[in-house]
Every structure is written in structure tokens, then in C-alpha cells.
Symmetry: C2
Subunit: 409 residues, 2 copies
């Protein structure tokens, strides 16, 4: 595909590293929404948008846009700029910088497109400051930002409304952030998992963003003295919980592309010389098929409650449920074609993590392109994507944008 | 046995309840050593000692004695008056009050004995204020109080030496607390376990205080994103740890009267959406036979390290080891005989918990008499012993003391 300008992956990587130096913490990266550090990073991004030839603009939620020329419905490209606590330099921002590199190269070579392309850097996807308000930026764009969430608070007790106002944005004007002029949405993201690296494939075309449920399970036995209570007179909650834990992988494997994880597992009272009386588990389960997701949740609940026959008390409580999102087949096919023409290997895959893209998918044709990250590591300082992988994702994106906005009027 | 005066269990229980109102916390019972509350309780005890006809005395460590008349080597009877945090009213003090009731009745009916009997209320058995200094009172009496421990600190950073001094006791005169004139030691204690109640037996004659080892085991896997890491590419530390946990009961059952407990079990990083990367377990294992104890510890370590074949990192570290203590057969036989003559059922048993008695057993013939506690509950507000059970233990103790100190010159 001679039409696609070459892109320098090292250029992208240098800018990601520059952004990663702007942190609210001194010892590790955390860029929470509506903080001075996030504003500083946004200003830096804005200067790069301008250098690339994009016209910048901020909306009432704090999302930063950069727009090409052109008329008609907008092709939106973007990702988020907030991070988890103790983050790496690639999650979110890699998508923004790949989009920026693609647009900069296309504008330099071809000038403004027929139909406008906008790059967006969104706020608060991770919910690392306001845990109830994850996807706040994309929800605002899609008119789905629930005003009730404006009163949720960060760890220091500051409300979302106050944080937005203090940062110069406007809770009352939030409805103005809504876009009704979008034609489609593209997002580039690091995979945050090991599959591409494991299979030696260069790019992932995401078909589905998996559905997610969380279930709280509390197993109650009887706390007893560790020295004076014979083994056969115990009702050790940890023994029950361990049997449940060992069933989870097989439950996951009985559904296609499902996962089950018990990352939060707490034993009470937690003293070495007291038989565990209670175990509290938060089970995270995911499946790309909505019926599988529902059935998987039911099977986990059943497995937990089966401990009741051994005398344990079991209480289960669903906590969160996010349905799977199907991405656009035609856009996925376009990305696949562009990858092939540029000599990049690609595979169709499922995203096990949530992304802004899943919100857009409910309203406009949307596509998500994954690039490999080393060891599948993400949300940690070791997070890393190679310059050539960043460049490949940016070039494939550029090829797709060229076809949609420059080639076709 | 007509020689043994009747004893009022309700009298013992009322005094235990009175003591339990003296606490360093407002919402639950905690009587830590060398606090104003502990001193207040000691003064109350002292007044009861005097009323019973005992001559009171405190040693440099803060142990409170009450002595009968008589000459020659001393029969010591006692237990501890400190408590765990959130204690019940019976652990420790039930032994002191049973001893007091026994001596009061014997003195009232028979006057002073031929050989002296002393009642002792000891400090800091639980180590609930100074965790490294458990058995501080009994160690002081036996000349085993390590002066290095004087610099250990409570949660507020106060050293043991400072706490003793502030309470009016004397770290520098600690060697004077040592007793070389003891003939034997008796302790009455609630069982702190369910065996007597479960078997419907009224008293327990303890033959052995079990040995205790603690082992720290750390299982390391790999922390990964819960959504993006397929089940087959995980190294979930909780899966490994759960397999280890389920082996522990069978390991315990393969040794006589052994227990294994994993009361402290922590999962890291502990987020619902992160595959557990590390589990830290503190294993408490106990066995009354010293070779069994050693072998049990080795088998637990082996079971933990066998997880290495599945790719887990395993580090094990022994933390504490207390050998089993054998109590005196002749004194145990005497208690059994007295119980029988008073029409009380009794059984020989092993103590799974540690007691001051195990320290004395290394130096003088020592005996430990258990009475049932409801549901085997202890170290909790629900801890309870019935008045008739308290009275039975006190009468059996009185009968043994009568034979040893009143009857035999």
C-alpha cells in the first residue's frame, strides 16, 4: 500500500515516555482525572495536536479533541489519558499517540481529508480517582454520563463535580459534550494480555469486548482456637473456600473464551492461631457471549452455595454486570485488509478488558485494534510496547483512515 | 471425701465477672499487663486474697502472691490475669479464682497447713501487649525472663522496661522474682476447646501440653490482568495455595493429636481484576510428641515446596518452635483420684494451647486441670464456664492440696 506514509515508532514511544513523567505520585505513575498533573499532560498533548495540524478543542467534560479539515460526519479516533495507580506508559496514551502519528503523516502527505477526522483524548476511563465513574469521558460524549455520579467522591472526599469545576470544566454544561455527528469510532490499544506475543502475531482485530460480572461470596465457618480444636470438630472457612477456588478454572474452561478470577480473597479473623471463621471473595468472571456470561455467573453461585451441604454459611451477592459489546464487522474487515496489504500478520480476538470502545459500539460502528505488549504485562511499571509494534498499529490505522476519509468523499 | 469443704461456684463466677469489668477498652475486655486497669484488677484480687486469709506480696515482675502459713517447700497454685484483646471473663482468672476458693475453704475449715501453699496471679502470659514477652510472669518466677526482652515495645512504642517501671515494678530487680523454694505447681484453666463438652466429661487431667511450630510460606505466581489473561496462560498463586491448604487436614490427621491451621492467609495484590501473584500463609502446627512435631513441620514444608514443580516460587521460613511439655504423672494421678472420690468424671487429655504450667513443668512437678467451657469458645466475649464446673474444679484442687499440705506434714 504505497498510499500509507511511513511512521516512526520511536517518535511515538518518546512522546509516551514524556507523558509518563507527568504523575501525581513521585515514586510511580498515576495520572488521575481533573488534577494539575492531568491538565499538564493535556496541555502537552494539545501542543502536539497543534504541531500535527489538528485544530484543538476541549469539551465540558475535559475531553481534548484535535480536528482535521473536511465536512460531513466525523470519524473519531482516540483513547484515554488517565491511568491506574502504579501504571505503565502505554495503556490509553498509546492509542492517542498512534492516532496522532497516523493523522500527522496523512495530513503532511495528503492535506485535509474529504470528511473530518477527530482525535480524542478522553478523561477517567479507569475510574482510578472516581471508581464509580469509569468511562466518564466516553459516557459524556455519548450522552450517557449519569448526573447522579457527579456527587461521587474520590479517596479524599472531593466530589466529581467539585474536581471538574476546580480543573476548569463544567458539570452543568456536560450535556453539551454529547456528539451526534459521529460516523464511526476507532481505538488502538495495547493488548494488556499475552495472546499476540504468545502466538507471534503482530496485530489483533477485536471482534468482541467481553462481558464482565463480579460476584461477592462470603463463606462462613466457625472461628476456633487453633491449638485446642481437634481437626474433626472444626468448620474451617478456608477449607471450604479453597475447594471453591479450585473449581473456578474448570468452570471458566467450560465456556468459550471465559475467565474466572478470585483476585480479592480475605480470611477472617486472620490470626495464625485462630481457625478461619470467614472468607470473603470477590469473583471476577468474563465471557464474550451474553448467555455464557449469565450461565457462568449462575454456575459460580451454585458452586459457592454447594458448600452449604458441608455446614458452611454462604452468602452471594452480584456486584457489577457489564454486557459484552460486539464491534463492527465491516470496520474490523477493513483493518484486517489494511494489515494484510501492509504485510502485517493479524488475528481476530476478544478483548478481555474493558475499553472506551465498548461504549461507542452501542451507538456507532466501532473498531478496536490491539498491538502486543511485552509479556502481556499491563497496569504496572513493566508495561512496554516495542516501537515497531506501535508503528505497525499506527500505519494500519492510517491506511483505514485514508480509505474512509481521504479516498472516499 | 468428707474432708473437702463445699465450694460455691456462683461465688467464683461473680468475682470473675467483677474482674471482667476492669478493661483498658470501653467496648470489650482487654486487660494488658502494666496498665492502670491491670493494677486496679490486681488490687481487687489482693483484697480478696486478704479476705481469704492469705498474706499478700508482689514480686519485682508484678506477680501477686497470697500465702498461707506452714513451713518448708511451697505448693504453688495459680494462673495469669492478663487477657487477649476482646477476651472473655474466664481465661486465666478462672484458675486464680478456683485456687482462691479452694484455699479460702481449706483455711476456714482447717486453719493453716503444715507446708505452705501460695496462690499466684501472674502477668503477661498472653503477650497481648508485648507479643515477644509472653509467659513473662512465669518466666520471671523460673529465672527465665530474658533481659533482652525488656527493650521490646508495645504497639504504642513503649518498652517493656518502661511499662514495668511506670506501673511501679522493677526491671533491674527482676532476678529477685525467681523462686527456688517451690515443691510443685498446680494450675486450673478452662479447656478453651470443645472436647470435654463434646464427650460429656466434667474435668480434664492434662498429661502433655502440645508442642507448637509456626511456618511462614510464601507462594509466588504471576500477577496478570484478570480479563486479558486466558486461563491456560496463568500462574495463579491462589490456585497453588488452595491446593496446599486442602492437604493440611490430612497431614495433621497422619499424626496423633496433631493440628494444622492456616489462620493467616493473605492474597496479593488483592484486587478483584488482578490474578493473584502471591499468597503469604502463616501455618500453625501442633503435636504433643516432639518427633511428630518435627516431622509434621517437615511434611508441611515439603507439601509447600512441591508446588515448585508447577512453576510456583515457594519460600518457607520457620518462625517459632515451642517443644511439648510433659506434666507430672503422680500429680495427675492424684487429681484423677480426687476427682473420682468426689464423684466427678475426668479424662486424661492433651492441652492444645500454651499455659504458664508448661514453663513450670521444666523445673518442678506440675499439674494442669481443665474444666469445660461452653461450645469450646475462648478468647472471645462468648467464653463461659458454668458455676458447677468452676466449683468442681476448685473442689478437686482443694482435695489435692489438702492431701499434700494439710494431711501430710
Amino acid at each position: 500500500m504505497d498510499c500509507v506514509p511511513s511512521i516512526d515508532g520511536a517518535w511515538i514511544q518518546r512522546r509516551l515516555e514524556e507523558l509518563a513523567h507527568i504523575s501525581a505520585l513521585t515514586d510511580r505513575l498515576w495520572r488521575p482525572s481533573y488534577t494539575p498533573q492531568e491538565e499538564q499532560a493535556r496541555c502537552l498533548l494539545e501542543s502536539w495536536f497543534v504541531q500535527a495540524g489538528l485544530s484543538p478543542r476541549r469539551d465540558a467534560a475535559g475531553n481534548l479533541y484535535g480536528r482535521t479539515g473536511g465536512t460531513g460526519r466525523v470519524t473519531l479516533v482516540g483513547s484515554h489519558m488517565d491511568t491506574v495507580k502504579g501504571a505503565g506508559a502505554y495503556d490509553g496514551t498509546a492509542g492517542i499517540l498512534c492516532g496522532l502519528a497516523a493523522l500527522q503523516a496523512l495530513l503532511a502527505q495528503y492535506g485535509p481529508p474529504h470528511t473530518p477526522v477527530e482525535l480524542v483524548s478522553m478523561v477517567e476511563e479507569e475510574g482510578s480517582r472516581f471508581s464509580d465513574a469509569s468511562f466518564w469521558g466516553s459516557r459524556s460524549i455519548l450522552g450517557q454520563a449519569d448526573p447522579a455520579l457527579l456527587s461521587c467522591r474520590d479517596e479524599e472526599g472531593i466530589t466529581l463535580a467539585r474536581a471538574m469545576t476546580d480543573a476548569g470544566y463544567s458539570p452543568s454544561r456536560l450535556p453539551e459534550a454529547r456528539r451526534d455527528d459521529l460516523a464511526r469510532y476507532f481505538e488502538v490499544h495495547i493488548e494488556q494480555g499475552p495472546i499476540l506475543e504468545h502466538r507471534g502475531v503482530q496485530l489483533g482485530i477485536v471482534d468482541t469486548i467481553t462481558g464482565l460480572g463480579t460476584l461477592e461470596a462470603e463463606i462462613t465457618g466457625r472461628a476456633d482456637h487453633a491449638g485446642t480444636t481437634p481437626m474433626d470438630l472444626r468448620l474451617d472457612a478456608l477449607q471450604g473456600a479453597a475447594r471453591l477456588i479450585l473449581q473456578l478454572p474448570d468452570l471458566a474452561r467450560s465456556f468459550r473464551n471465559a475467565t474466572v478470577t478470585a483476585g480479592s480473597f480475605q480470611v477472617f479473623p486472620g490470626s495464625a492461631n485462630v481457625v478461619p471463621g470467614r472468607v470473603s471473595i470477590l469473583v471476577d468472571y468474563r465471557a464474550p457471549d451474553p448467555r455464557d456470561l449469565e450461565q457462568l455467573g449462575r454456575k459460580i453461585r451454585q458452586a459457592a452455595h454447594s458448600l452449604e451441604t458441608e455446614g458452611f454459611g454462604v452468602v452471594t451477592q452480584p456486584r457489577m454486570s457489564v454486557p459484552p459489546a460486539r464491534l463492527d464487522k465491516a470496520l474490523g474487515h477493513l483493518l484486517e485488509q489494511c494489515a494484510q496489504e501492509l504485510g502485517c500478520s493479524s488475528m481476530h480476538m476478544i478483548s478481555g478488558a474493558g475499553h472506551d470502545c465498548q461504549l461507542f459500539a452501542g451507538q456507532v460502528p466501532s473498531a478496536l485494534l490491539f498491538l502486543p505488549c511485552r509479556g502481556g504485562r499491563s497496569h504496572c511499571p513493566e508495561e512496554y510496547a516495542a516501537p515497531e509494534d506501535l508503528a505497525r498499529a499506527a500505519r494500519v490505522l492510517a491506511a483505514a483512515l485514508y480509505r474512509l476519509a481521504w479516498q472516499h468523499p
